[in-house]
Structures are given as structure tokens and as C-alpha cells.
């Protein structure tokens, strides 16, 4: 029996095994340190991208990678988001604001060395408007003359669509109405050009999901080119030597990681595996704020968190009821005590400062007035007010906000609210068929213009989903705003429309989003902006002196 004592010993040795193994791995250089030396940016990107085809993809992770691989006619200043030359070195706009003539760079090339010219745009935009391709962003083209008609099949000749290559380096685009934000659209990936030869090599132009975007096949025109796509592992892009501005690109390589789990991502950041995270777990934000950790970056984001009200539900048809509900949401309490990520309480639908637009609003936190309004609507002290349901998609933060609002409405209006959470796709279904009473929602702008927020609530707007329809609102947004001459006039029209929207309240704005991420101090020239868009060609890495790895002697 004596020898048996050796067994637990073996057992303990096994437990020690990992510790022994570590000695082999400890002390290695972290991704970040190595990246700082060789110009490799390690980028936490959220999820595995669905597609890298700019005419198919939707979503932020896809956007992050596509904008490294491709470029539009016009780019944006990384700080102010003002349009600046991209593939087009200059452009002119006709006096009526409808005709844009772009002069393309002579030295524009595809990443395989092929010349890149105006004809590429005509072909690419034709492709993007093929319904069979399933392009969810086709509507981004609809300001171009006849693009909508072509897409919907009312005209079949693409020559009638307002895009023409006058010669190899001149592209003329005619719009149906003056569209002040048109230049901005050109920097959205849905309007990026694609390389015809590559697409036709792997399938037909309107075939969805061919292999042209795969590692080894992809051809783009951006500052970087695809060098590896390891599914669910990483996507690596390398500096593109054919890029027109290649000499000024500061990074050699970017590695995008599908960091699905925010908690793991934050740990990766702390362990020096990432230069930048796509998010920060909300319970970690306060401790980063408390310690004034300079890696934490919080900046306003072009998006609104709001509640939709189904205006076809009998007791929610009354404007008074909707206003009473909106006046009893304590937005300050929600952003300060629940979200804690610098979010801005929203008293109008369009985020303030969108292209110089600051919406006026008569919304505020005012329980007293709310009670009077509810009484006027026939529900004195909440009496006989039917139990109402808030629908939200399963998510801890949505739940917390819904619980808080449930309590606020109970406390201030004495009405009963039920909470219903549904899994994402079920929730989408319920909302789109109007099977809800009040539902949580979010809207992130694709371009910086109030139109991107306000045209949602046109009577036939696909994203309206509230059943609210107002002829005057449609007239202002659909007919007047596109035709006014000056920027100030346009903003005034939006202001009137928004006032109408906030008067009728088919939606209750709650807060304006912020983008929250962790960024390593070595990352330079990466300013924040409200689209949270990175201009990779300008970023470079430079380790702070104190962050430089110690030399052997210093150990």
C-alpha cells in the first residue's frame, strides 16, 4: 500500500504541468509591441464579416474591412468628415446642384496593377443596381437620376441612368434633385467600384456571393490589399503598392480579429493582443473612467436609441397619451445611472450637430404636465389605462432600460407596463408586421445628414413601422427639402419636420449613442468622428517611450 502515495504525487505533477509549460511561453513579445515595431495594427473587429463584396455587405465589421481594401470617388476628412479627394482628384458641381463631374486621378490603379478609370464606375453602379444581387443598400443610389426607376424595373435601359463616363478619366453623374449629401454617399462602401475582370472571372456580375472576395482572388483600389482570410480567425490586409497615395500610408498591415465576445476582447486588449477594441463591456466602463485610463475613448456617434409606438393600437392613437409617455422618461437617469458610457439624453430624433443641424424640441422630463395630458386623454391618474407591452430584443442593456422606463411610467403616470423580450429575428418580425405596442429600436446614420434620420418616417418609409403617416411631414421631407436652394433653408425645413415629428411622437427618442472603444496609446492620427470611421491610410503606430519593450540589460 505504501507505493500508492506516489499516485497523488503524479496527480499534483500533472496539475503543475501548465505552469511548467509556461516557462516556455512567458516573456514573449506581445502583438502590440511587435506591431508597433513592424507597423501592424491589431484591430478588434466584432464579428466575422458576412461578405467583403461592397454591393452585398451590410454592417460595421464589414465596413471596417472594406474601407481598408477599397476607396470611393470621394473620401472624408477623418476629423471633420468633410469631403476630400479620393479616387477623384477634383470635381465640379453644376449651378443647379444636379450635375457632378469628377476628374479621376491619372495614377489610380487596382491592386493588381490594372488601370482604374471612369468606366469602372459605370459598370460597378450598374452591377449594384441589379435586383438579383440582393443589395440592401441599393437605395443609396436613388438620388442619381433614374436609378430608382431602373432598380424597380420601370426602365430597363441603363443608359437612361444618370452616370456616364465622358472619357477614361471623367465621370459625369446627374442627380434627379439637388442632393447636398451626395458627395458623402460616394464614401459609403455601397458606392465603391469593383474590379470587373475579377468579378467576371468568378461568376456573372449579378451573381450573389461568388469567390471573388476570397483570399488570393480579391482585387480592390484601396490603401490595402487582402492577403489572408482565415475564417473566424483573422483577416489580414497589407499595404497596396498600387494605391495612388501608397507613399503616405503609415501602416504596413492591419489584422482584423472577429472578437465576438466583448469581455474576451477587453482581456485581449489588456494582454497586449489588440491595438483597438470594437466595444467595451458596459460594466467595465466606470472603472476605466475612475482610473482615468487614457485608452478609453468615448465619442458621440451618429445614432439614436428610441422607442417606436404603434399608432394603430387604440389607446396609443392619442397624441396626448404619447406625449405623456415621452415626458415621463427620465433620460438623464437612464444615461447616467444605467448606461454610464457618456451617452447623450435625446430630446429629438436627429442627433444634435448633424451637418450643423440642432433640432429644436419641446420634449423634457416633466411628470406634472404628463399627468395632466394623460388625464385629458381620459385616464385620470392612469385609471383604466390598458396594460401596455414594451417589446425589446433579448439583451441585458435593453432590459435594464425597459425596466427603468416601466418603473418611471408606473411612478409618474400610474400605468401598468409589461415587458416582453424576443430573440432578435423574432423581434424583427414582430416589429415589421406591427405586432407590438411599444418597441425599442435604434437607428445608426449611414451618412451625416438629417435626411438620413427624418426620411424614415415618411408614410411609405420601409423603416417607419409605427403606422404614423402625416401628409405635411411627407411634403416637407419628400418635396420641399430636396429642392430648396441653400443649406440654411434646408435645415429650416428639417427643423419644421422634426418639430412636427416631436409634436406627434410616433417615436420616443431616448438617447444619442456614443462609440466606446479602447485604443492603445501607440496608435497615432486616429481621431474620433461621429461615424466612427477610421481613415487607415493616415494612421500610424508609434510606441510611447515608456511603452518601449525593455532591452535585455534592463531586465
Amino acid at each position: 500500500m505504501k507505493n500508492c502515495a506516489r499516485l497523488p504525487l503524479l496527480f499534483s505533477l500533472f496539475l503543475l504541468m501548465p505552469t511548467l509549460l509556461l516557462s516556455a511561453c512567458g516573456g514573449g513579445e506581445s502583438n502590440v509591441d511587435q506591431g508597433n515595431r513592424d507597423g501592424t495594427f491589431h484591430w478588434g473587429n466584432g464579428t466575422e464579416p458576412q461578405s467583403l463584396d461592397p454591393h452585398i455587405a451590410t454592417g460595421v465589421p464589414e465596413h471596417n474591412i472594406i474601407t481598408a481594401l477599397m476607396e470611393g470617388l470621394v473620401a472624408k476628412d477623418s476629423k471633420t468628415l468633410a469631403p476630400k479627394p479620393g479616387v477623384a482628384e477634383s470635381w465640379t458641381i453644376s449651378e443647379d446642384g444636379r450635375v457632378y463631374t469628377f476628374k479621376l486621378r491619372e495614377n489610380a490603379r487596382w491592386s493588381n496593377g490594372d488601370p482604374h478609370n471612369a468606366h469602372d464606375y459605370v459598370w460597378s453602379w450598374w452591377r449594384a443596381l441589379q435586383p438579383a444581387l440582393g443589395n440592401l443598400y441599393a437605395y443609396m443610389y436613388f438620388s442619381i437620376d433614374n436609378a430608382k426607376e431602373y432598380y424597380e424595373g420601370t426602365i430597363t435601359d441603363f443608359d437612361q441612368v444618370g452616370v456616364k463616363a465622358l472619357d477614361d478619366s471623367t465621370l459625369k453623374v446627374t442627380l434627379s434633385n439637388p442632393t447636398p449629401y451626395f458627395l458623402q454617399l460616394l464614401d459609403h462602401y455601397s458606392l465603391y467600384p469593383v474590379h470587373r475582370g475579377t468579378i467576371e472571372k468568378f461568376g456573372t456580375a449579378d451573381e450573389r456571393g461568388t469567390r471573388w472576395t476570397y483570399e488570393g482572388n480579391h482585387v480592390g483600389n484601396g490603401a490595402f490589399q487582402l492577403s489572408a482570410w482565415k475564417i473566424n480567425r483573422r483577416i489580414t490586409v497589407q499595404r497596396n503598392p498600387y494605391y495612388w497615395n501608397a507613399d503616405h500610408v503609415g501602416l504596413n498591415q492591419i489584422v482584423f480579429y472577429p472578437t465576438e465576445n466583448a469581455v474576451s476582447e477587453e482581456r485581449m486588449f489588456r494582454a497586449g493582443q489588440l491595438h483597438r477594441t470594437s466595444s467595451v463591456p458596459s460594466d467595465k466602463i466606470p472603472s476605466y473612467l475612475e482610473t482615468q485610463n487614457s485608452s478609453l475613448r468615448i465619442s458621440p456617434y451618429l445614432g439614436t436609441y428610441f422607442y417606436r409606438i404603434n399608432t394603430s393600437v387604440p389607446h396609443l392613437q392619442s397624441k396626448l397619451v404619447r406625449r405623456a409617455l415621452a415626458l415621463t422618461v427620465d433620460r438623464e437617469a437612464i444615461t447616467k445611472n444605467i448606461l454610464k458610457g457618456g451617452q447623450i439624453p435625446a430630446y429629438a430624433f436627429t442627433p444634435p450637430g448633424t451637418m450643423g443641424y440642432y433640432p429644436e424640441s419641446n420634449l423634457r422630463f416633466d411628470p406634472e404636465t404628463a399627468r395632466q395630458l394623460l388625464a385629458e386623454a381620459g385616464y385620470l391618474n392612469g385609471k383604466d389605462f390598458p396594460t401596455t407591452e414594451i417589446l425589446y430584443n433579448t439583451n441585458e442593456s435593453h432590459r435594464k432600460i425597459a425596466v427603468a422606463i416601466q418603473q418611471m411610467w408606473k411612478k409618474h403616470l400610474n400605468i401598468d407596463i409589461k415587458l416582453l423580450n424576443q430573440e432578435w429575428k423574432v423581434y424583427l418580425d414582430s416589429e415589421s408586421i406591427g405586432n407590438y405596442e411599444i418597441s425599442r429600436a435604434g437607428w445608426i446614420g449611414d451618412y451625416v445628414d438629417p435626411n438620413n434620420f427624418l426620411d424614415m418616417f415618411l408614410c411609405n418609409g420601409g423603416n417607419n413601422r409605427t403606422g404614423w403617416c402625416n401628409a405635411e411631414y411627407d411634403y416637407l421631407i419628400g418635396d420641399i427639402a430636396p429642392t430648396v436652394k441653400t443649406h440654411a433653408e434646408r435645415l429650416a425645413v428639417f427643423g419644421r419636420a422634426e418639430k412636427l415629428l416631436m409634436d406627434e411622437l410616433p417615436v420616443i427618442p431616448i438617447y444619442t449613442y456614443t462609440s466606446i472603444s479602447l485604443v492603445n496609446q501607440a496608435v497615432k492620427n486616429y481621431p474620433s468622428n461621429i461615424l466612427n470611421k477610421a481613415n487607415y491610410s493616415e494612421i500610424y503606430l508609434q510606441a510611447e517611450p515608456q511603452q518601449m519593450p525593455l532591452t535585455e540589460d534592463q531586465y
Binding site: P8, C25, P131, L136, V263, E423, D429, S432
Partner: protein, 312 residues
């Protein structure tokens, strides 16, 4: 033995057929479609997409063509990732998942068997109580707790091991394997303790001891073979469970495995991906169960007799 295997494989055909049919019905009856999105999808796009993936056909027709394709080994294209086939995605995720399952199994076996055997050597002493209590904790501790805990200790505080990744940085496979293997180690420890206790009280062990053999020889040469039969029987389902159940560990450690695809497919309503991975995992479970049954029969003369009798 071969006849046994043959019959078992024959039984697997209707099982797989039922799995396909049930899953097909379930995914198609789940609310929310594969192409619904936050932003309104124009009807033209929905129509084009449905036509492309044959979703515009009657359901029975879709079913027939799907089964036809599966019989030819084609799981179809993924709805979520245009341009990727389900087979391709399974092939991309399987190596990491299989490797993780294998290492986790090794961790489970080494820790589990040594702890179980040690406990059985001296039942009702500290040598029994300590590993068995640890095993109980191991069974109770979910991997979504153990994983981050190990990462905090070994990854963040001690900086000994990478906090995530798979095959990128030396040592990044250690923590995931331990996290996934621990729960199974605990279970195996209890099984092997039970098995060993039963065997150690048998007459032939007393004979071996009476012959004057040393205790390690008695345990290693005579007792282990019989004592580990419950463990062997558990290995098949355990390995299948490790393969299919690694989702949490894959997420915590950012491992590019199949588990993440499997779970995400359900959320995305990626019909073909859900079906493909379900059929794939079902096949694996059937195969591993068969293999562990065959191993158990090979090790246990009693069962060998029975099978022979049954197949005659």
C-alpha cells in the same frame, strides 16, 4: 464484432433521416426569416434572395431537394455568408474544435483517472475526500466561469499564458483545453473511483495480492482494465459532447471552431448551416457511441459473450 458494428450503422440511417426531417421542420417553423434585417429589406431583394436559395418553392419540394443534396454530400450554400458552402464552413471550423476536444479529453482522462484511482485506493480517507470534493466542484463549475477565472489568473495577473487565440501564440491552447476538460475530468474521476472500488473488492484482485504482487502492479495490471470500463463507456458520448459543446469555450477564448458557427447559425436563421451542422454532429455522435461501445465490448469479456450470443 463486425456484425455488431454493421447492424448499428444500419440503425443509424433511419436515425439520421429523422434528425434531418425534424430539424428541417423546426428551422422552417421558427419565426423570423434568414433575410430579415434591422433595416427594411425591399421586397425586390427578398424575392431575389428567396429565388436564389429556392425558398420560393413549396416546403415539401425544398425538403425533397435538400435530402437529395445531402445524400450526395452537399449541404448547400450558407445563407448568412454568401459565397461560402456549409461544407466549407464546417471544414474551416472542425480542425480547431476537434483539436480542442482531443486536448480537453486528454486533460479529462489524465486528471480524472488519476484522481479517481487515487481516491479508490484509500476510500473514506483524505486521499478520497479531497479529489472527490474537487471533482464535485469541477462538475458544478460552468466553463463560462472557469474560463475567465483561469484567464484572469494565468493570463492577466501572472501573464504566463495568452488570454485567447488558437495556434497563434505558444501556449494559447492550454487554458481552453483545461477549461473544457475540467468538467469531464470531474465526471471521469467519479466514474473511475466507482469502477475501481468495485473491481478492487473482487476475488481475483485478492488472488493477485496474495501472490505477493506490489500494489501498483495489482492496480495497473489487474484492476485498471476492469475498473475503467465505465469510463470507456462514457468516452463516446463525452467526446461527442466535447465536440458539440465547445461553444462557450470557443467564445471565451476566441477559438475559430465549429461551435460558434453552430450557435450563430440558429440566431441567424441560416437554415442550411443549422441543418448541415446538426447532421454532421449527429453523425459524429453515432460514430463515437459505436466506437466506445466496441471498445467496451473488447475490454469486457462478459459483454463480448453477450454480443456473440446476440449476433448468432
Amino acid at each position: 464484432m463486425f456484425r455488431f458494428a454493421f447492424y448499428r450503422l444500419l440503425q443509424a440511417i433511419p436515425v439520421l433521416f429523422i434528425v434531418i426531417s425534424l430539424t428541417f421542420m423546426l428551422v422552417h417553423s421558427a419565426p423570423g426569416g434568414p433575410f430579415s434585417a434591422d433595416k427594411a429589406v425591399p421586397p425586390e431583394v427578398i424575392k431575389a434572395l428567396e429565388a436564389q436559395y429556392n425558398l420560393d418553392q413549396p416546403l415539401w419540394q425544398q425538403y425533397v431537394s435538400y435530402v437529395g443534396d445531402v445524400l450526395q454530400g452537399d449541404f448547400g450554400p450558407s445563407f448568412k455568408y454568401p459565397g461560402r458552402d456549409v461544407t466549407e464552413l464546417i471544414a474551416a471550423g472542425l480542425p480547431a474544435t476537434a483539436e480542442l476536444a482531443l486536448y480537453a479529453m486528454l486533460v479529462a482522462l489524465v486528471i480524472g483517472v488519476s484522481a479517481g484511482v487515487a481516491a479508490a485506493m484509500r476510500p473514506n480517507t483524505a486521499q478520497d475526500y479531497i479529489p472527490m470534493s474537487a471533482a464535485m466542484i469541477g462538475i458544478c463549475m460552468p466553463s463560462f466561469l472557469l474560463g475567465p477565472l483561469l484567464v484572469l489568473i494565468f493570463g492577466i495577473h501572472l501573464e504566463w499564458l495568452p488570454v485567447s487565440g488558437w495556434g497563434d501564440i505558444p501556449g494559447d491552447k492550454i487554458l481552453p483545453a483545461i477549461t473544457l476538460g475540467t468538467g469531464y475530468a470531474a465526471y471521469i474521476a467519479r466514474l473511475s473511483r466507482g469502477g475501481m472500488l468495485e473491481v478492487l473488492s473482487q476475488d481475483y484482485i485478492r488472488t493477485a495480492r496474495a501472490k505477493g504482487l506490489s500494489e501498483p502492479v495489482v492496480v495497473a495490471k489487474h484492476a485498471l482494465r476492469g475498473g475503467l470500463i465505465p469510463v470507456i463507456a462514457f468516452l463516446g458520448p463525452a467526446f461527442a459532447g466535447l465536440l458539440g459543446g465547445s461553444f462557450v469555450v470557443e467564445t471565451v477564448f476566441q477559438i475559430p471552431g465549429l461551435g460558434r458557427f453552430y450557435v450563430q447559425a440558429a440566431f441567424n436563421r441560416d437554415y442550411t448551416m443549422i441543418l448541415g451542422t446538426t447532421v454532421f454532429f449527429s453523425t459524429l455522435i453515432i460514430i463515437f457511441n459505436l466506437l466506445s461501445d466496441m471498445l467496451a465490448i473488447w475490454l469486457n469479456p462478459k459483454l463480448r459473450q453477450q454480443t456473440r450470443g446476440a449476433s448468432l
